[in-house]
Symmetry: C2
Subunit: 494 residues, 2 copies
Amino acid sequence: MSADKAPNYQTLTKHFQSISHFEHLSALGDWDQATMMPIGGGEARGAAMAELAKHIHSLKTAPMLADTIAQAQQESLTLEQNANLREINYQYLQANAVPGDLVEAKTKAAYHCEQAWRDQRKNNDWQGFKPNLENLMSLVKEEASIRAQALRVSPYDALLDKFEPGMTTASIDNIFGQLKSWLPELIQQVQHKQASEPRFDIPSASAANQALLGREVMQVLGFDFNHGRLDISSHPFCGGVASDVRLTTRYDEADFTSGLMGIIHETGHAKYEQGLPLAWRGQPAGLARSMALHESQSLFCEMQVGRGPGFLKLIQPHLKQLLACPLSHEQLTNIYTRVTPGHIRVDADEVTYPCHILLRFEAEKALVSGELAVADLPDFWSTQMQSLLGINTDGDYKNGCMQDIHWAVGELGYFPSYTLGAMYAAQFKYAMENQIGSVENAIAAGKLADVMAWLQSNVWSKGSLLEIDDLMRQATGETLNPAHFKRHLENHYL
Amino acid sequence: MSADKAPNYQTLTKHFQSISHFEHLSALGDWDQATMMPIGGGEARGAAMAELAKHIHSLKTAPMLADTIAQAQQESLTLEQNANLREINYQYLQANAVPGDLVEAKTKAAYHCEQAWRDQRKNNDWQGFKPNLENLMSLVKEEASIRAQALRVSPYDALLDKFEPGMTTASIDNIFGQLKSWLPELIQQVQHKQASEPRFDIPSASAANQALLGREVMQVLGFDFNHGRLDISSHPFCGGVASDVRLTTRYDEADFTSGLMGIIHETGHAKYEQGLPLAWRGQPAGLARSMALHESQSLFCEMQVGRGPGFLKLIQPHLKQLLACPLSHEQLTNIYTRVTPGHIRVDADEVTYPCHILLRFEAEKALVSGELAVADLPDFWSTQMQSLLGINTDGDYKNGCMQDIHWAVGELGYFPSYTLGAMYAAQFKYAMENQIGSVENAIAAGKLADVMAWLQSNVWSKGSLLEIDDLMRQATGETLNPAHFKRHLENHYL
Ligand SMILES: [Zn+2]
Ligand SMILES: [Zn+2]
């Protein structure tokens, strides 16, 4: 496609290429802030990052875009170019949906609420947190209603759309409704089965040795160290850009198991980034499809591969050599598949985790619609925890509705992505197994690369060229179907 | 000063504050590239950094600036605001002096020349390097002549002005002329004196232990680790921003002495950055005064403090403890003050170093004026090395005129800063000693902080609020006077 034939489209690709360069710098700044920057550098860095965010926003809302997009939509484009134009338009609509002064007001309220929350949470101080959250929530509702008008959807759908383009409350209601019908009983059954299983001591291991192990395990998973690195941060994440993916983790010297599984999880995110289509780097069509799909890749690595006996057998010699770990791969498998209902989402196992999401999804919908007042959130929380997990959380705000950072920074609509991701991951596994046979067998046969190649060809290389439903249909023959997740849990835990 | 009274000045400070935010990100990108980035990340990073450089240039050449600066010059400003306006105007003139297509042509030629030079140098391939350098040099001469017209000075003065605002060829001719009259004989005398001195073996030391030692020595020098860090890069530098200074060094496990002194040198640069005036952060008046003044601070740390017996006595216990180094502080002093004429500038000792600069200054002047053709550079080099240092470099291009990166990237006018810096450093020392007594005595008495406090108050805290001659007059009672440097060398080496 020459510039002569589609001049408006070419203008847009050039403009969004520029934006991606600035987003590259933004990703670098975020990573550095979490891993390298001394505290004293924070103020100037914050100001520089705010300036950069303002500049990126001004590029995404450039006055010429409306006309140029409209004219490009009349140009003769290839299928892939049309997909890129769709994503360009999506980014444009997202950036233009909310007026600048509301963005600024929400950013300030979120900053204030989060800063206070860090101490309030420690002190179980719900009374202190409540007015901040009320203030922030009224801005979130305003944002949701403005986005809803711009995108012509319901307010909560408009929030979901920031993370899961095209996903609706109705779809999630349906999917999560199915989940809720069988999950609590499954948890009971698994707990009953596991009650008589032995428990094993976990040997201590230095952070330095855990880091060596982590890099070896990343190699096993095919992480490309020519395009990425592993460092330490207090909250593990996968950052950077596709050509230079920056993973982080943290190490607990008394228990290496969570740090190691954290690396495996983040490596799943990283493989997705490293596998995004080279030809579309720097364009919206070259980005990951959605947050849920991103989570599906990390959860595939963690749940379908990392916690399985085949993979644990593969890496057990490394654990023995580097950490002097005496555990067999069967013992490691047992440790990594224990199910224990608890208060904290981020510590939850694979089986109970969705209950934490079901609760939050219901709460968010009700908060945004106004059916639930912030003041009534603790009661709502207690009731739901009791019914979903049989846990009493009365008065324990810090391990209850104050535990997550998401609401403290006004980020609603994100939580469902975690569990949608787990469901996509299970669906990918069974589709893959129809084609290449059992994942466990592939790993046992030294063919983990075949598993990765399937993901590369069906998920990573698609970037955002396909909409989510088309991607799922092409990869698995159907759109999201929670039955695969049920089958996965039953196969693994019963 | 309210915005009502000086609206144009306020517009300018806001604009240059924005520029400084983008320059912050540029400094971060440079540092990361040299220390953390995997090779495979280079292409996308390069594109992002080029986009950022273009954006910064567009801000510095914004069409509104000419009028706004002219109008601000009519506003009623404080002395310091006027200084800031002077520096703003200086940055504006520098950025506007050269047309964009010449900048781009030179950037490309420099990139091409440097890439080829990396191999050509290894292979002593002067014939390969010559045409690239000729091509680049013609662009440098074009740049120099355009800058000269804009700034109304001579072409080589216009190049000097990029690094040393206000410095002229005539001044340097005068200063370096004095140096040339006594330095070659001084070198002879020092060599004669040192001929009979013993030599000592240097114990090997792991990079990890050298890094621990480096951080301890930085603490001794008062480096603020809340606003900076130490990492590894193949070419040591001091980068980052004033609120977050990023030092780098490299470690030779067979000889810790150069890596350690490298850290001490870069810490001098870092102390200057960390000591820049807080009230002027983000404004041109808050930046370091010039490259020579920057070098004066690193050389003060290295030559006036670091290589002296007092400081070496102070850190000797750390060397003993961390590197199991058996050398006494007298032996260390001897190692750190050995004078040996050699081919390579960056390996030169304090006494012979200026000869390398004298040669390059003469060569650059003659190259820019056209008196010296690139083809005749090797002969010029041989003659000068013979006369200044008694060294024969015939046919040894890689250790001769191809040794530095500066010309390979088209950077002319920078070399004098190194020796001007050494002279400023000596002048600061004697001025300081008139007020607080001997630097060596202060260190012996545990009062290194007094030395640093003098630099803080007379140099660092001034930023670019004073022009260089005023800064020198206020700090030392006179403008640059090379006699102090002579006295310093005679006192230390004879
Ligand atoms: Zn994740
Ligand atoms: Zn230096």
